[in-house]
Amino acid sequence: MKCKIPVILLACGSFNPVTNMHLRLFEVARDHLHQTGMYQVIEGIISPVNDKYGKKDLAAAKHRVAMVQLALQTSNWIRVDQWESEQKEWIETVQVLRHHYSELLRSLPRRKEATSSRAESEIPTEGIATPAHTAAPELKLLCGSDVLKTFQTPNLWKDEHIQEIVEKFGLVCVTRAGHDPKQYISESAILTRYQHNIHLVKNVVQSDLSATAIRQALCRGQSVKYLLPDSVISYIEDHNLYLEESK
């Protein structure tokens, strides 16, 4: 059997609140990577942004994290991670990737124990004990094509960060209606150069669903049922979130 590259998918964003669309990104990306035959997605991580990000209408991180946690109760492979939201300052996405990559490397021996057969564990291991047939794990940033577009927004991203993301880590980008990711790539020298590290995934079930639309519907008293998990809707109601009209 050919050895597959283990992959962890990391999604950064506001998750204000998390919606079914966010959760779909993970499912669609995992299916796509598996069907390449090259990858084995071992985990998905949702990392809600820090409160200091200062985005308009951003609910407190503790709520956003709690909602993601509730949404993921039924998932056996995606988890929420609070590290980013617990930092004192807003931190750049590339730093979040670095952090999770070092965590991944640290946890590797444990993961390997959990997955490898007995015969393998009998092999004496020295130094960086990566058996030759085990591919190095990869951490990839999962995003919608709208994020790819923001790479063009002046002053939003540092060029060296974009380069590090696509060179060292890689992107899995799920295309969204109204976006042409191929065009965004061709318009950027860095993205073009590292396009082999950018996986474009077509989402056959298109949707206009966004957290903004959810917040709008909520403050108008409209139903948002079936657009996000029931547990998240109950949490929003219990904590009176998103009641105020945004200015």
Partner: protein
């Protein structure tokens, strides 16, 4: 929500394959309810899902039993939606106009029953399976003045593709269309850029009853369809978050959709078309 008592009570009925039921089907109900209630004229008190019977003979249609169970699982978390098996339990395919008539009669029977508190329970054949004692549920929701008001209005809930199916030759009898839009009324979920208005304009019968057709705009569009769900399943792809969790688990457990199931009724003529030939 002030003064609900002066409003016309509405029950929404959705007919279709529900093969399988998806979050999109369930959203149609939520959108329709919000819209109707926001007019200030209506008070939507109930939504009924009526899966079509096996005799419809649509390609890829799995057994009504499974489709009904999935719809029931999907509505478990809803306070106002329920599944009705009357249509699906029939050996023969039943025209939508007849399904409406059946439900209208039930609502009328229940209404007169409500004003006679001593009458025995209204057991009609093929009733709902969702809850026992839901006659009480209904009376709780109803304002006390219900005996003066008469039964709620029954309206057919549909998507824009359903509306446009009225234009498919031989699929619908003209008198059935007249009954549906004339006697009952339609609540149709559409998208901007969709030609529902033009379609109504171009049809004499729909134009005549245009005031009985409520077009509801779906702002947060959503391309989930049962066809896409079945395709994803055949390809081993995830359908999570596109259908309710309980439905996804049921599909997996019973391995409901495969290339074999998709071949069901291949070469069959759709029941309404067959009937039109006879």
């Amino acid at each position: 929500m002030e003064n609900l008592e002066n409003r016309t009570e509405v029950v929404l009925l959705a007919c279709g394959s529900f093969n399988p039921i998806t979050n999109m089907h369930l959203r149609l109900f939520e959108l329709a309810k919000d819209y109707m209630n926001a007019t200030g004229e209506y008070n939507v008190i109930k939504g009924i899902i009526s899966p079509v019977g096996d005799a419809y003979k649509k390609k890829g249609l799995i057994s009504a039993h499974h489709r009904v169970v999935m719809a029931e699982l999907a509505t478990q978390t809803s306070k106002w939606l329920e599944v009705d098996t009357w249509e699906s339990l029939h050996k023969e395919w039943i025209e939508t106009a007849k399904v409406l008539t059946y439900h209208q009669q039930r609502l009328e029977a229940r209404n007169s029953d409500d004003s006679e508190p001593d009458s025995a329970s209204l057991v009609l054949p093929g009733g709902k399976r969702k809850r026992t004692g839901d006659a009480q549920d209904l009376s709780e929701q109803k304002p006390s003045a219900s005996q003066k008001k008469g039964p709620p209005q029954l309206k057919l809930l549909c998507g824009a593709d359903f509306l446009e199916s009225f234009g498919v030759p031989n699929l619908w009898k003209l008198e059935d269309i007249a009954t549906i839009v004339g006697k009952y009324g339609l609540v149709c979920i559409t998208r901007s850029g969709n030609n529902a208005e033009k379609f109504i304009y171009e049809s004499d019968i729909l134009w005549k009853h245009r005031n009985n057709i409520h077009l509801v705009n779906e702002w947060i569009t959503n391309d989930i369809s049962s066809t896409k769900i079945r395709r994803a399943l055949r390809r081993g792809q995830s359908i999570r978050y596109l259908v309710p969790e309980a439905v996804q688990q049921y599909i997996e457990k019973h391995n409901l959709y495969s290339s074999e199931s998709e071949d069901r009724n291949t070469g069959c003529i759709l029941a309404p078309l067959l009937k039109a030939k006879q």
